[in-house]
């Protein structure tokens, strides 16, 4: 399958004022196939936004290359830029004092559309699709947060780019606005054949929308697989321990990587078996702690649980193994998968 985004040996080192170096991204290799919704996941400071900004040409890599539909971002910047539209996190992206129509015309011209007729037709099409046509002449600052985000997405799509980068597109949106944006992301990929790269902390959304996910931690890639494959891979490792009554938090902490929830008066601990433990060791640990174990059963993990598990494992690894990216096998799953 044709790769829309090809990232090779990409690294970014930021130098602090005191002279210390920060490895924001280390030797990243990644390919994103055309027409996919690709989830780029990681905790704050994992290196996602730096990678996205390097893909947009806003940050220059220390080493490595980014190619968008075959165009090298450094050597063929103009052509590469024509391949993408982006909505970046934490900023307005559009002029709130201008109306939606003015914003789309401005950004269309800025991104190289010189034909007024074509630009106006495209702006109308986008505003109608996003249900903003009736309010196209209202200043964006008067819109709800969801509508403002729609205008930012429309501005990113004004040139109809084949690749769309959305950094936290649902951040701060209410449930309804978030659903609208999610529906639109799906349509962009499925109906329009666009490649959508999505960064989000809403892992349930990533699980639903993304064909493939990459998980980053401390500037390194921990996993890069089709979403279903990643879920299947961890299915064998996840268990649920059902315990009678309420278990004190300090006792739950003895089950590293497990999350507690309450269900019908019972405590359910869910998580992956790690640290060389087996399911029998878990049962033994519960017995030694004096817990009343009702059952242990395999559980289907969700993306959030896998994410937490992978990031925790990466953080526990000695720095050297994390830096060298040597695959480290931990109870069935490897550190870099």
């Amino acid at each position: 399958m044709k790769a829309a985004i090809e990232i090779e040996s990409l690294s970014k080192i930021y130098r602090r004022r005191n002279g210390d170096d920060i490895n924001a991204v280390s030797s990243l290799d990644l390919k994103v196939a055309a027409g996919q919704v690709f989830g780029f996941l990681g905790s704050n400071g994992a290196g996602k936004t730096t990678t996205i900004k390097m893909a947009c040409g806003l940050v220059l890599p220390t080493t490595g290359t980014v190619r968008l539909n075959g165009y090298d971002m450094r050597k063929q910047r103009g052509q590469a830029m024509r391949q993408i539209g982006a909505v970046l996190e934490g900023t307005r992206n559009v002029y709130w004092r201008m109306n939606a129509w003015q914003n789309l015309l401005y950004f269309g011209r800025l991104k190289g559309i010189s034909s007024g007729k074509r630009l106006k037709a495209r702006a109308e099409e986008l505003l109608r699709e996003l249900d903003l046509w009736a309010r196209r002449k209202d200043p964006v600052r008067e819109f709800s947060r969801g509508m403002q985000q729609k205008v930012a997405i429309a501005a990113a799509l004004i040139t109809d780019p084949p690749i769309v980068l959305l950094d936290e597109p649902t951040l701060g949106l209410d449930v309804q606005a978030s659903r609208t944006v999610q529906k639109w992301i799906t349509q962009l990929a499925k109906d329009r054949g666009k490649t959508v790269v999505l960064t989000t902390h809403q892992l349930d959304m990533a699980e639903t929308l993304c064909d493939r996910v990459a998980i980053m931690s401390q500037g390194q890639l921990l996993a890069h697989r089709p979403t279903n494959e990643l879920l299947d891979l961890f299915r064998q490792e996840f268990y649920q321990l059902r315990l009678r009554g309420t278990v004190a938090p300090e006792v739950v902490e003895r089950f590293s990587g497990f999350v507690a929830s309450q269900e019908n008066g019972h405590t359910v601990l869910s998580g992956a078996v790690s640290d060389g433990l087996s399911v029998f060791d878990l049962a033994e640990r519960a017995r030694l702690l004096g817990l009343d174990l009702i059952s242990i059963a395999p559980a289907a993990p969700n993306l959030e649980e896998i994410f937490v598990e992978l990031v925790e494992r990466a953080e526990q690894l000695p720095t050297q193994s994390a830096v060298t990216q040597r695959p480290v096998r931990v109870t069935g799953a490897v550190q870099k998968i």
Binding site: L58, L88, N93, Y95, Q102, K111, S114
Partner: protein, 262 residues
């Protein structure tokens, strides 16, 4: 060529829409600019302003307004766009960044010219001051502005890298008002201050403009006495250095990852 025109118009279109949304602020600024000139002139002349001296001062003052506008646009304007994230969107344009910067400067120039014509016109009517319109002043005016924008590009570049350059920009704006020869000609300054004043971007432009506009000197005459030659060299140096500094700072901001960071 068509794209260049589109970009220049696009930036102007954006600027006028945004300024229209700040109508009250613009009106207040116009009033402040006019009031400041009247106030300073009355103080300097001991309450009895001489229309002839006022014409000379007003010419310098209006050039200073161009400087205020260019400096604000490159410092406050870029910082504002960094905070809102629109600067990053601009930097994602496939068009050359130099062209976008040129578009930004032209729109700033169109806006400040509009303000200068309005404020200058009102002041001339109110104070009975007459500044003749001479076509021969156009090249001198263009050279003065070229040097000024070169100077503003240096500040714009610094804003991209360091963000907090507003206090420096304010200091420079005020220095220019008192040192560019608007109210006190550079010849009247102490020699060390005259040297400093002459290196500033608008001083030599104002000197030559006064000779051409108010004294009716020809371009040949100001070329022969060396003042236009010095202005040309001065403006070219500022423009070239400013342009390269801006482009270098933009590249450096991308390298440091601070283009969109505030």
């Amino acid at each position: 060529m068509a794209m260049t025109g589109t970009i220049l118009l696009n930036e102007t279109y954006k600027r006028f829409i945004l300024l229209w949304s700040y109508k009250f602020n613009v009106l207040t600024e116009m009033f402040m600019i006019g009031f400041l000139f009247i106030g300073i002139s009355f103080f300097i002349s001991g309450g009895k302003p001489d229309p002839e001296l006022m014409a000379s001062a007003l010419l310098g003052y209006l050039i200073w307004f161009f400087a205020v506008s260019a400096i604000s646009d490159m410092s406050w304007g870029i910082r504002e766009e960094t905070q809102t994230g629109t600067l990053e969107q601009m930097c994602m344009s496939p068009l050359p960044s130099g062209l976008l910067q040129a578009g930004r400067s032209v729109s700033s120039l169109i806006w400040s010219s509009t303000m200068v014509i309005l404020v200058g016109g009102i002041l001339m009517i109110l104070l009975g001051v007459r500044i003749p319109v001479r076509l021969s002043a156009l090249p001198v005016f263009a050279l003065t502005l070229a040097g000024l924008y070169g100077f503003a590009f240096i500040l714009g570049g610094a804003t991209l890298l360091f963000k907090q350059v507003q206090p420096l920009a304010n200091l420079l704006q005020n220095m220019l008002l008192f040192l560019n020869g608007s109210f006190l000609t550079v010849e009247q300054m102490p020699s060390w201050l005259e040297t400093v004043a002459r290196t500033l971007p608008t001083t030599q432009g104002i000197v030559v403009l006064r000779r051409v506009v108010l004294e009716g000197a020809s371009l040949a005459a100001v070329w022969q006495d060396g003042s236009l030659v010095w202005l040309t060299a001065h403006a070219a140096a500022y423009l070239l250095v400013g342009w390269f500094v801006f482009l270098w700072c933009e590249q450096e901001a991308r390298r440091r990852g601070v283009l969109g960071q505030y």
